[in-house]
Symmetry: D2
Subunit: 382 residues, 4 copies
């Protein structure tokens, strides 16, 4: 598919995600890290405008000079920006205007892409497409978080609850001790944090083919998992107690039975489905209770060809740190990944909310260990 | 005017306040004490349903059993409720549904009012009308707060900035020492906190006919008012420093000149207009700088017939405490006023945002001394 | 007694309060508003140095130029100072040095007092003596707070628990409607907040001769007082819930029986003794449960000649506000009282911790309504 | 040296560290993670009592049953404990009693050690000695923190400032690509987090022989290092701005020249001395400014035989995570290390405050990346 076609397809998919929304839904933000739909729509658009059109489209005229302030996310290079927690506070610009902004940028981008732009522009356009795909996933996780806090538990309305997948394979993969090559090889798109192919020496290990299910996790809960400190990391234990956490996100007991909010509304927990919405702390504690452990990101990648993955982001026991030889580039795009390499844990795989064509075995996702709002699950190793 | 007609007029006026709004505006809440428009529309409606229809309309069927939870404000008697800061988080129910709720309640209320209801129901209906009028004022102050935090400074669109009034009279009123009767007399509507007519002995005093203007306040600012601790109460001084306050709410200096956000957009400060959006701390400090003082609520009431008032809520130097003989009734309506009689200061008069027919000289408004978001101003005494 | 003798007696009494202390006790501070013994000893001394010796003792040489920073409490006029919560953080200067500081100032003050100083110096010396008496009471309340947080509940060691007094009179005083003169009359020492004798009109009222006992308060607790919102002011109710308060300060249930920490150690609550260590919120809620109310400070003062008072500071239903005609003087001493006239409630009487010669019927004590750490109790009116 | 002799020597050294202290110093705690001297003295003693004497000394009688509550640090297995931030609040037990406690435990421990105890007891005694050595270092870092917050900047009084060391070697060590063995080998004492010898594959790298000096760090500061976001990790940048950090801990500019608080008092910064008291964030930003990077803990260990180390804890670019095969034991001692393996970065080496015989090249120290209070410095790699 041509880059222009990829661009169009990606842009349209973002808008199709909005089709079940009413205007009221576009601004709702209930926690600072989960942005409202309107902001996602505008921010992904701003990325193309700021990084590409302003530099490579000669006669380009900015859509609105204030949008840079409103829709920049964290690019210090580019200047000041709205506080992250205030993204839901701006009823103006209206949804219509944001959609017009998208349309305006789309037209200019397509003109640029069809007129033989410099290779840097093409490369940035590919980055912009992947950036928008990341926000498509965040769109769903953030929207779920906002709707899930509403006492009415309104469904999103796409007809799917997104948490019903089950395991298709079982048993373990046994991997030999030895040197493995880690990191992205070849020319296809990838982020800077995956580059720098390098060797890692691994001891022999085994890794499960199946992910942990809701039913298995309920056993942990029934065994007093949330009340037994010695399964937990110290920071995790304090986080539980300070925040009254005693179940995965969205779970609540109604008349003695576990229910969870899903994008299709409130439902009884399906014990056979893959566990979702657990933090690293919970993943680690569950593994500890089982007498198992989480795989490292290297173990995961080395075994990935033999695993069925892609339904849940899988917490690994690796901290998000640079690969050998990684350096942060000095421009705005250099802020994309490197500056987050502290205090976060790597997740591998992909989730049901990840867009097609946006997953690969070398992909390094990362979140702070207390966060539950992703479609995150557990694969065990030993 | 009949009570039914008053009811209809009040209900329609609430909706007319919404006419300039887009759907995006109905949910925006940027601080816990300033509720979004949709919530005001629904909460005032819930008051009629909960306090009147459920009790006095025999065959009445509740519109939606979850609305009690969503739209109760602070009535502990009535049960649990949504956290105050989460009122902007509920994109569902939609605006349409809330308007349908209003329509449904209106019809049932009119039926009730036209069919000879018990006197308690009439009395509660009058209270409900006054309650809705209070929320009409909060609608405007809260909406201004939300729009004023938007970096685009969008106008509300009614064509008026609501802060342009000037003084129509000048000089002072001199009042004699002696006993004055304070509190509401007669049968017309009033709140329980105004009852209990009682005598107060006042020393001779004088009170200004004019309110403080923006220009006068700028003199205070130019004289270093915000940097001179001895004009300030100790709690006020700490509040200033902890919150970086150095001007009335909505003011900012652009190119060396003071501007303020108004409901008509960002405008240069009009020096002749009446000062607005100051806290009690600021009012008290200004008076101290002037070598004057604020009047007590009793001084204000005793002199009120000779004053031109109604453009700004006027901070007094009286704490909000019960009048002699005041008692809190035991039912839900008893939570209306009495339980707030601590830590708040009395404001007298009314503001440009106060609905017609909702002001009287015995009216006791009250807010915590640090709050600036009301249309609050200063009248000096000595 | 001569002023010099009064000075000496007051200074010695402060030191006698320290006689049961070990060096470890001098620095302990567990909350920002309760200062450690060493700080009280030094701060009261600094007052004499800063306000009197530096101005009126010609050849006076400052004891240590850094003490002004360390031992100033809140006098902005005098300059920067140590943060209030850090008073327990300074192991240096040592206790010995602080006692030497006291000795040095005592000598210079006595020399000054014996050599015919200007009348302003005499007046300030009297103020300094009264200031030190206030800190003698704070010394005990603050020390109790620090020791009471120690899981070992160590006794202070003076042999008295200070909470064992009982009522000596019962019944009520009935007061007539009419005008009463309020405020300090005559030349004897008093604070600026008591001056400005003025008339207050009071309705007829009755006021109890006895204070509320622990036993009566336990009845309130047993009746579910702390779980019944409608007895409480709204701010008070939130304060209870946010801070898990369900008893007076220092109370805990051991094996089904109430105990309290006292300055003689942990003891069973004496049901006949006068209730102590309640906040205004608790006092107000108790009165509400009883169907009574707290007296205003004016009612208290008007009836005071017929009451037995002096064992507990008694919360009144009056906010701490200026008397008519009160103005704040412009010098450092002007910061003594006036700047606190907001957000606090008046207490009348005196407590078992108040030094002799430091109480009078016009004395206006004041604290924020949530504070429990004073020897504060309840007298009811109707 | 016999274990009994090691025990005695270690115990005596702790007390010798207290010799310059006045009684006032024993309780001072100014931040929750820096404990007061008395607590360190008692807690290390409690470890021997709780882990050894209660289990292995048959007729042992507990010194004081409340000390378990007061002096347990974080061993959930052992039960409830005093809040960490309240360790400075307990003026009782007195210093004398804590010294008596030490004496009592010493006698019982020596009796036990001299009477052929089971091997588990010997192993725990060795752990207890190493534990006390860790607290000897914390004693100094915590005491420096407390004294350094005193505006008088009192010296500790041992005659040394502990920050005056300079580099003795220069240049770089070049290391070849290949497999290296990591982890403790042999029988000598080591912690559980160092065991599990395993192979790590390293790319070729170079590592500096010298540590960064104050002078070099001042160059970074003069080049605007603290104001240039792109040198910083995102969490670090926010931490700087939220906490107004613009220099290493204890540094302040006086009359245009950098000074620092040292254990010998306030001194001008020595530009040739090794930098100390920087966080991981600062270490990482400095490396980024230099166009270099921090070594990983594996690179550090592999090269350690060729480095001069032991003056500063050296931040590495490795997160504190388990070595392959590490498991947490189920008893109280199992809480020693494993439960902290999240959100912390590894430091290697040792510092001037580390006791003799308490360092080795496989030692893994760890702290949260924002902390500055250790004697922590920077070694660069590439």
């Amino acid at each position: 598919m041509s880059l222009a076609a990829q661009f169009q397809q990606t842009r349209q998919f973002s808008e199709s995600l909005c089709s079940p929304l009413s205007v009221e839904d576009y601004n709702t933000q209930v926690i600072d890290y989960a942005s409202p739909p309107k902001w996602h729509l505008a921010h992904t658009t701003w990325f193309f405008e700021e990084m590409i059109l302003k530099k490579y489209a000669d006669t380009y005229r900015e859509f609105d000079p204030q949008f840079g302030f409103l829709f920049n996310s964290y690019y210090n290079h580019v200047g000041e920006r709205l506080a992250r927690g205030a993204r839901g506070d701006i009823s103006v610009p209206r949804v219509d205007k944001v959609l017009a902004y998208r349309q305006y940028i789309n037209e200019h981008m397509l003109t640029l892409l069809e007129n033989d732009p410099p290779v840097e522009a093409l490369s940035l356009a590919t980055l912009g497409i992947n950036h928008e795909q990341q926000h498509q996933e965040l769109f769903l996780t953030d929207l779920k978080y906002a709707l899930g806090r509403n006492p009415l538990y309104p469904p999103y309305g796409q007809g799917t609850n997104l948490v019903n997948d089950t395991n298709t394979s079982h048993g373990t993969v046994n991997m030999d001790e030895g040197l493995y090559k880690i990191g992205h090889q070849g020319d296809s798109f990838h982020f800077d944090n995956e580059t720098q192919v390098h060797k890692v020496y691994l001891n022999a290990y085994s890794i499960d083919k199946a992910l942990v299910t809701n039913g298995e996790y309920i056993e942990f809960m029934d065994a007093g998992g949330y009340d037994t400190f010695h399964y937990w990391l110290d920071d995790g234990w304090h986080y539980l107690k300070d925040n009254d956490i005693n179940a995965p996100l969205y779970w609540q007991k109604i008349d003695g039975r576990w229910h969870y909010y899903t994008l299709a509304g409130l439902e009884p927990v399906n014990p056979d489905a893959l566990l979702s919405h657990v933090s690293y702390y919970e993943a680690n504690a569950f593994a500890s209770w089982k007498g198992r452990r989480l795989p490292t990101e290297f173990e995961w990648e080395a075994a990935s060809d033999q695993l069925d993955w892609g339904k849940r982001w899988e917490w690994t026991n690796s901290a998000y740190l640079p690969y050998p030889g990684f350096t942060i580039s000095k421009d705005a795009v250099g802020e994309y990944n490197g500056k987050f390499m502290i205090n976060q844990m790597v997740l591998r795989g992909a989730s049901v909310a990840t867009p097609e064509n946006h997953s690969r075995k070398t992909y390094r996702n990362f979140f702070h260990p207390h966060l539950q709002w992703q479609f995150s699950g557990i694969r065990l190793a030993a």
